[in-house]
Amino acid sequence: MKTAVIVFHGSNCDRDAATAIEAVTGHAPAMVWHEETELPEGLDFVMVPGGFSYGDYLRSGAVAARSPIVNDLKKKAEAGVPMLGVCNGFQILTEAGLLDGTLMRNASLHFVCEKAPLLVETANTRFTRGYADRKEIVIPVAHHDGNYFADEATLDRIEGEGQVVFRYANNPNGSARDIAGVTNAAGNVLGMMPHPERAVDADHGGTDGLALFESVLGKLS
């Protein structure tokens, strides 16, 4: 298993992401600095972690999405490498054009941190095959800009194509159609606001996120 976590200025869930990946695979991921121009060869999985890259200044994820490493990230996405963007990582992937839509300021205008109940909308993705369809899971959220927005036509299209993977049971941020996580059309790129890496440990945020990592990292028992 070859995995990597990208580190931007202001990333702050990079260590958590690495810990979760290592817990599942037994191997530490490569930590790739944003100024690199290429990801390691032969990657099985890349994670774009949460945090406040570039302070969330201008728009969340905007500056990070223009980093040198993102050019190669786009190439790898096209080549079908599985990748997961969480929270700020999701914002970066939308800013980079790898996922549809954008994340706007929470409707409450407040930062929201809570353990959010989610519905697994489809178990038919490489990220969710470890869950049952419509299963309710609890994954922590912590963000200021998690209000998913896309125009109606785009929303209809991604819903129709089965790209909506997670929905909030209790919409904390005003997201269109309660959307919490979406994939690209090819299904190898997932972006989500909730933090599955904070839910792989019974002493911390519960274990409902484990199946996601086990699914994509090929570790289902």
């Binding site: 200025h9 202001g10 702050n12 869930c13 260590r15 958590d16 810990t19 979760a20 949460g50 945090g51 406040f52 570039y54 302070g55 969330d56 200044y57 407040h110 930062f111 929201v112 941190c113 809570e114 353990k115 922590p140 912590a142 200021h144 933090h195 890496e197 904070r198 440990d201 002493d203 911390h204 945020g205």
Partner: protein
């Protein structure tokens, strides 16, 4: 009077300007110590170093009553933060600090920069910050300003802590009309380090290079009154003193860069630039090491044009540190700080002479002996009288309410008891993936695992100002005892405390009496419980129009849970379980 000194005022200084900086008595001491009149830069330096905030001139005498040592204490008060041994070669480093006045003026930025400042105190010593707490006191909920202050302070604490990626795991919030004109914003940070990688501030050797790292210096937070003086009159609006604005993004980079540099053999000593930035950091580093320091201000990274020496020395720009580096290792620091997109500049060196020498545009603009500024700063034994004793209440004499259920409901609904979810929902409590209990959980203290181990820290902040007002001594004792109980209630061994002593004007004997009473009560409880004070902060003059805040000695306490599986809480109750009442 130092009649011998002539002229009594240096060029550009008048009696009025001098009085804006120090008291008349203090000015006499300066003349005597120097044998000449201080220039404006020097006067500015005295004013900040002799301020209550830096010199603890009203409180030092009484703070010495606290027990500060113990088996587990590695560093007590005197360093940037307290350091305790938690076994296995690991240490917990923590401190609490106030940012009361700035938060009243500009709640968001005031609270945010308070968090930034307390984080720097902790990572300066080599710790990775792992938890934040906050103790907040606001005015009456019905007061027209309260709502906006609560909203701004909460957003500011979250805005900073969430961005740097340190979980805010707990705190306390009270409302009382006594804080209508003076809210309290006390922030606490806890970090972890290896005991063999702890850094201190005292300069060790002369002729070592002094590095400035972090953000550039601007005209932030320079004392308003002095800005009105002639030299700063021109440019009026443009040069107006400004509120410090925090930049958590820069702080995050600064944390990573400092920890990276600390893992190399390069740093001799390190100090953050807190209040009174460059002045207090350079003076403290040199004087605690018994050395001197020389700086060339032309090399200070500057955000604005034409900054004067006075402005640079008094600026309170955030996210800056001063490092004394081992000679020949400057390039290591440069490489690391450039990687993190931060400023780094060699601005001077340590010196054997025990003086602070500043150069600016080729001229010596300050040449002061350090002892009088630091070690020998004024220390006052302010007059005080004990607070009027309020007799205790005999519960049997109280009227017994008819409907206890209604009483319970009204208690639960009171602002102090009501849920604080609106506040803590805005704090990221889970980042770093080691939070085992935080504000949302049924636990008397927050619990944060020591990364990669089964150990955990338990953390709490406590104070009941109402008790301190009724009886400062008992109230002080109670605050410490409550912190102790909250730690033991989650299964932790209490180790040590930090504090933030918030009071009114110490020049009033009754206020000083509250201060002394609380300190003595706390000291007594700390001694009885073997619960030393390892760091802390004093905030005086919290009053408006002669009305002081209730005495508020906030206690922040840390304990160790040897095995996280042994932690306790009060949740998960099941029908049929037996309740036991223990204690008196």
């Amino acid at each position: 009077m130092s009649e011998a000194v002539n002229p009594r005022y240096a060029e550009g200084v008048t009696e009025e300007i001098a009085r804006d900086h120090v008291t008349a008595d203090e000015y006499e001491i300066i003349l005597k110590e120097l044998g000449r009149a201080p220039n404006l830069v020097e006067l500015g330096i005295f004013s900040v170093m002799w301020s209550e905030h830096c010199s603890y001139k009203s409180s030092r005498l009484h703070l010495s009553k606290f027990p500060t040592s113990g088996d587990k204490v590695i560093y007590g008060p005197g360093e940037n933060a307290g350091v305790i041994d938690i076994g296995d070669g690991q240490a917990a480093i923590f401190k609490m600090e106030s940012h009361n006045h700035p938060s009243y003026i500009e709640p968001y930025q005031g609270a945010a920069t308070g968090v930034g400042g307390i984080l720097r105190d902790v990572f300066t010593m080599g710790a990775r910050p792992v938890a934040l707490m906050n103790a907040l006191r606001f005015g009456d909920p019905e007061h027209p300003k309260t709502r906006q202050l609560v909203a701004g302070v909460t957003a500011g604490i979250g805005g900073y802590g969430n961005c740097v990626g340190v979980p805010t795991v707990g705190g306390e919030t009270n409302f009382d009309k006594g804080y209508n004109g003076n809210i309290l914003v006390n922030a606490m940070a806890v970090g972890l380090a290896d005991t063999d990688k702890i850094f201190t501030a005292a300069a060790r050797e002369p002729e070592f290079p002094v590095l400035y790292v972090g953000a550039k210096t601007g005209r932030d937070g320079i004392h308003g009154a002095t800005m009105a003086s002639a030299e700063f009159g021109e440019g009026s609006e443009e040069n107006r003193p400004t509120v410090q604005v925090g930049d958590p993004f820069t702080e995050k980079k600064l944390i990573e860069a400092c920890l990276e540099l600390m893992s190399e053999d390069a740093i001799s000593s390190i100090q953050d630039m807190g209040a009174a930035g460059l002045t207090s950091s350079s003076v403290e580093m040199a004087s605690s090491g018994g050395l001197g320091i020389e700086l060339d201000l032309d090399h200070v990274p500057q955000r604005e044009e034409n900054m004067t020496a006075y402005e640079m020395m008094l600026s309170e720009s955030q996210e800056r540190m001063l490092i004394i580096i081992k000679p020949g290792r400057e390039h290591v620091a440069e490489r690391i700080f450039r990687k993190w997109d931060l400023d780094v500049a060699t601005i001077g060196k340590t010196a054997p002479h025990g003086r602070l020498v500043l150069r600016h545009q080729g001229e010596v603009v300050c040449d002061l002996p350090l002892d009088p500024i630091g070690e020998n700063a004024p220390k006052y034994d302010r007059p005080w009288f004990p607070a009027e004793a309020r007799g205790s209440i005999d519960p049997r004499e109280l009227h017994q309410p008819e409907h206890l259920g209604e009483v319970l409901a009204s208690l639960m609904g009171s602002p102090d008891m009501a849920s604080k979810r609106w506040i803590w929902r805005q704090y990221d409590r889970h980042v770093m993936a080691d939070t085992a209990a935080s504000s949302e959980d049924p636990s008397d203290a927050a619990i944060v695992r020591v990364h990669g181990t089964q150990k955990a820290l338990a953390i709490t902040t406590d104070c009941t100002p109402r008790y301190c007002f009724a009886d400062p001594f008992e109230g002080g004792k109670q605050a410490v005892a409550e912190a102790w109980r909250n730690l033991t209630a989650v299964g932790a061994d209490p180790i040590a405390i930090t504090d933030c002593l918030n009071f009114g004007n110490p020049e009033r004997p009754e206020i000083m009496g509250q201060f002394v009473g609380c300190v003595e009560g706390m000291a007594e409880a700390c001694k009885a419980l073997d619960f030393p004070v390892v760091s802390g902060n004093v905030s005086l003059y919290n009053e408006t129009d002669g009305v002081a805040i209730p005495p508020t000695p906030a206690v922040g306490a840390v304990g160790l849970i040897p095995d996280i599986n042994q932690r306790m809480g009060y949740g998960g109750l099941k029908e049929g379980q037996v309740l036991l009442l223990v204690g008196e």
